[in-house]
Symmetry: none
Subunit: 529 residues, 2 copies
């Protein structure tokens, strides 16, 4: 009693199991960006992919050599060797070693029904495969986490066999036994009971839990496993994953830490969880989750006079945890008063020391609210916000040039020929007008090239800068091609990276705005030196 419980290990599999979700697609480059953010959040393990099953995941591990993670260890995932091969000549195990990660997750079958029906081998042969695969990786110097697939179904069907599978992995040198509810259908009581049984039986090893959400119980099942003795918690950001998804770390970590008193992350890191959740979805071009526990945009929104006056008197009357603890914000849906504190904070960072009553602040807030209603999203485009603030509050010069107009023509002459895009632009720099043109691969690229061509004459350092990412989102779902679009551009110059935004009913005009801001921000930062 009174002792502080040990910190739980958080193991994220967004980049591997998460990408099995329908419509959740990340490139190798996206995965690197996500890995950096998960590391910043303070997670302990990041499962990067299955190199033996996907060339994209091999590419990711090759690129991951340049990731220097501060808190997290990268894990490569793979399966036990093929029944017809030996560990030494199994391609999947070879790919696992080649990935270079010091920690490997190895999945093997723990349900007799699967061994018989799917592998078509004897139960004893399956144990041999598990022993051989674990021992092979351990002998190669890898730390092995053994994922016992369908463990809880296996335990219910043939208890002795499910435990024998774990014993085989343990005996061959596994460092952790991860109990998987692969079909996602177990109930919390079952999970708790099964986990305590394993924790008691294998006291020297870390017991992990890996749940799926087919019964809508993945969060509860994970908490139940921790109550039963699990010390490693697996899941994905936002619960992405195949079918109904994996256990959702954005609900589980706050639940463990704020409600069960089981520390996972330092409090200042926990406060990054909402923005991390949104960042991950943004990489896959998905809008933020509205109704997600803790991190959703509606999670702390209040409607109706009684709720709002109640929260003003005493937030605990209508909030189960303080939104700041998870980096989320209270929102009032009727009269939105949120944002002021956040904006003052940002202004301070940028060197503007404004008073809370300053009329300039109210004016700026009004303009931002208006622009956010139009679809500008400054969370992912802080460079555009910083430029706007400098213009409005009379900070350093932030304009540099005016974009006067463009004409873009895109011509596909015949069914089998590629379209040709040409853009002409007019820009003005210090009173001089420049009118030029460029071809491109598609209309957006032509526009981008023409703008740079026009401006590089005046600002040669723009040659250092490149576009890192370009995203388009159609706003307000149901009006088809007439809807408003938001373009987010990410740029870099080898030192910094920054995001800018444009919104219009016209995808080219939205791109024009975002590209203009991205170049302005480069000039703005360089001029500070």
């Amino acid at each position: 009693m009174g002792e502080r419980p040990p910190v739980l290990e958080i193991y994220d599999t967004t980049l591997r199991d998460g990408t099995q979700a329908e419509g959740f697609v990340l490139s190798a480059q996206d995965k690197l960006k996500v890995a950096r953010r998960l590391d910043r959040l303070g997670l302990h393990y990041i499962e990067g992919g299955w190199p033996g099953a996907s060339p994209r995941d091999q590419e990711f591990f090759a690129l991951a050599a340049e990731l220097s993670l501060a808190t997290a260890r990268l894990v490569a995932f793979g399966s036990t060797h093929h029944p017809d091969r030996r560990p030494q000549n199994d391609a999947n195990l070879a790919a696992l070693l080649a990935a270079g990660a010091q920690t490997t997750a190895l999945v093997g079958k723990a349900w007799d029904r699967h061994v018989r029906a799917l592998l078509g081998i004897t139960l004893e042969q399956n144990l041999d495969i598990i022993r051989g695969s674990v021992a092979f990786l351990a002998a190669a110097g890898r730390r092995v986490f053994f994922d016992a697939e369908h463990f809880f179904d296996g335990l219910a069907a043939d208890r002795d066999y499910a435990l024998a599978v774990l014993a085989a992995a343990a005996q061959a040198g596994a460092a952790a036994l991860v109990l998987c509810d692969t079909n996602g259908g177990s109930l919390p009581e079952q999970i708790k009971e099964g986990t305590s049984l394993v924790a008691a039986r294998f006291p020297g090893l870390t017991v992990g839990i890996h749940c799926h959400n087919d019964g809508g119980l993945a969060t509860a099942n994970t908490l139940a496993a921790v109550a039963g003795g699990a010390r490693q918690v697996q899941g994905t950001m936002g619960g992405m994953g195949e079918r109904c998804g994996n256990a959702d770390l954005t609900a589980i970590i706050p639940g463990l830490q704020l409600k069960m008193g089981r520390p996972c992350l330092p409090p200042e890191r926990l406060a990054l969880i909402s923005e991390t959740a949104r960042y991950v979805r943004e990489q896959a071009n998905l809008p933020p989750e509205r109704f997600a526990p803790y991190v959703g945009t509606s999670a702390f929104s209040h409607k109706g006079g009684m709720h709002i006056s109640g929260v003003e008197k005493d937030p605990a009357l209508y909030e189960h945890v303080p939104p700041e603890a998870v980096g989320n914000a209270r929102r009032y849906l009727v009269s939105d008063l949120a944002g002021k504190a956040a904006l003052l904070n940002k202004l301070g960072q940028w060197g503007f020391d404004l008073d809370g009553d300053d009329p300039q602040l109210a004016e700026l807030l009004g303009e931002l609210k208006q622009r956010e209603n139009e679809g500008y999203l400054y969370e992912a485009a802080e460079a555009s916000l910083e430029l706007l603030v400098n213009r409005r509050l009379g900070g350093r010069p932030a304009q540099f040039f005016d974009l006067l107009g463009f004409r873009v023509a895109d011509y596909k002459a015949a069914e089998r020929s590629d379209p040709q895009a040409e853009a002409t632009v007019r820009v003005r720099v210090e009173g001089q007008e420049e009118h030029t043109a460029a071809l491109g691969h598609g209309p957006v690229n032509a526009l981008d090239r023409a703008i740079r061509k026009a401006l590089e004459r005046f600002y040669p350092r723009l040659a250092e800068m490149r576009l890192v990412d370009y995203k388009v989102r159609v706003l307000a779902g149901s009006d088809g091609t007439e809807a408003r679009v938001r373009v987010l551009v990410e740029s870099g110059d080898g030192v910094n990276r920054w995001g800018t935004v444009g919104v219009s009913f016209d995808v080219l005009e939205a791109s024009w705005q975002a590209l203009g801001d991205s170049i302005r921000y480069k000039l703005f930062k360089d001029s500070a030196g």
Copy 2:
């Protein structure tokens, strides 16, 4: 032992608490339609609204007189009388009686902190208000379900007082005591313990449970309450509700019935739950939930060769319940990891009876793999796949027209003026070439209008069709505006909805492909009749 447990009462509050969700709006007419479907599903109670707080809900109850429900009873919701009034002259209670429903839900405060901070009255006065309000409704011949707001927070803060609140309601004639986790932050153990305490203390009354999902635990909390003795289960379809939503009946009912052996609905009614969930969202103009447990469109979807061949051998290997039990369907996703089995299955659905060794199959698989590498994503664009398959395997005609070429011009004349977009297209239908032009809001819209204009002359039924959604995704993150883009288009004609895809380095050409397929699919389906 061996006795069949009594059927649980299912109480739906989609039409009242559910409509507190951001973005979930139902008219009085929509509510009538939803009520009919919930009745057909076999639910026992339908809470129709709060007549004392909303004129729309008064209108609903006035119209509801014409509803003839077969299994469900309609419930009107209201709160205890205002501290400054008496039951006889309280407008809220009067509206509750005027609504005409025989069963009324009456909410009162069960957490001392709320009584003091928000009502600003003594704890004893609150008990008087509860007694007076319940007795008033009971004397008017109403059956009263007492909703104990914040019951679990109240129980934790002042156990005796929370129980005294229930005793006051019971003594005044309440037929049910509904325990509410209003802030949604309780854990399953707490809920189970609190519920068993109440069930033991008030053996003659029905104990109900009403959870919110702020901790991601509403489903687990509701199941825990039933294990603790609750007999009435409250929730909403799809978990709609304020903040993170209410308990989701579409996950809870199958969980209770299929996993805990607690009957809620006759099995043939349970099989209507998936279509009912989709119907409710459709009324609010929301797309079906993808990842929802049991009823989501992805809930029984399988990716990957091993999963698919496993399910073909023995569905229980990868499915926690049979999809038919909840009226859902198994789906095989055509994806880069999938193989032959998924494609053969799809081909079968489309009437192509191919052998696994057929060289046409290998050829088609090769082409699909190639196209998926280029970025075509058929998961969300099955209509494009069906058209392709029909072309390749010589099924029904699926071409209808050829898109020959386009020219799109987008001109922004000055800084403050909106851009003007114009598209010209050339199409060929049965040997005739049509060359026409259209203006649009942005270049994609102009292209869409021009294509339709050219084709509607030949196919007047295209006027029935509309674009429902348009999505752009830039593939392979790191090449900026030069990257390849994928356009997904969703279209509908009032009867069906379908998705199509286009991929190009040029966003307009990708749109051109996806728009062309979306029109072809409409003609293809119509020609089947």
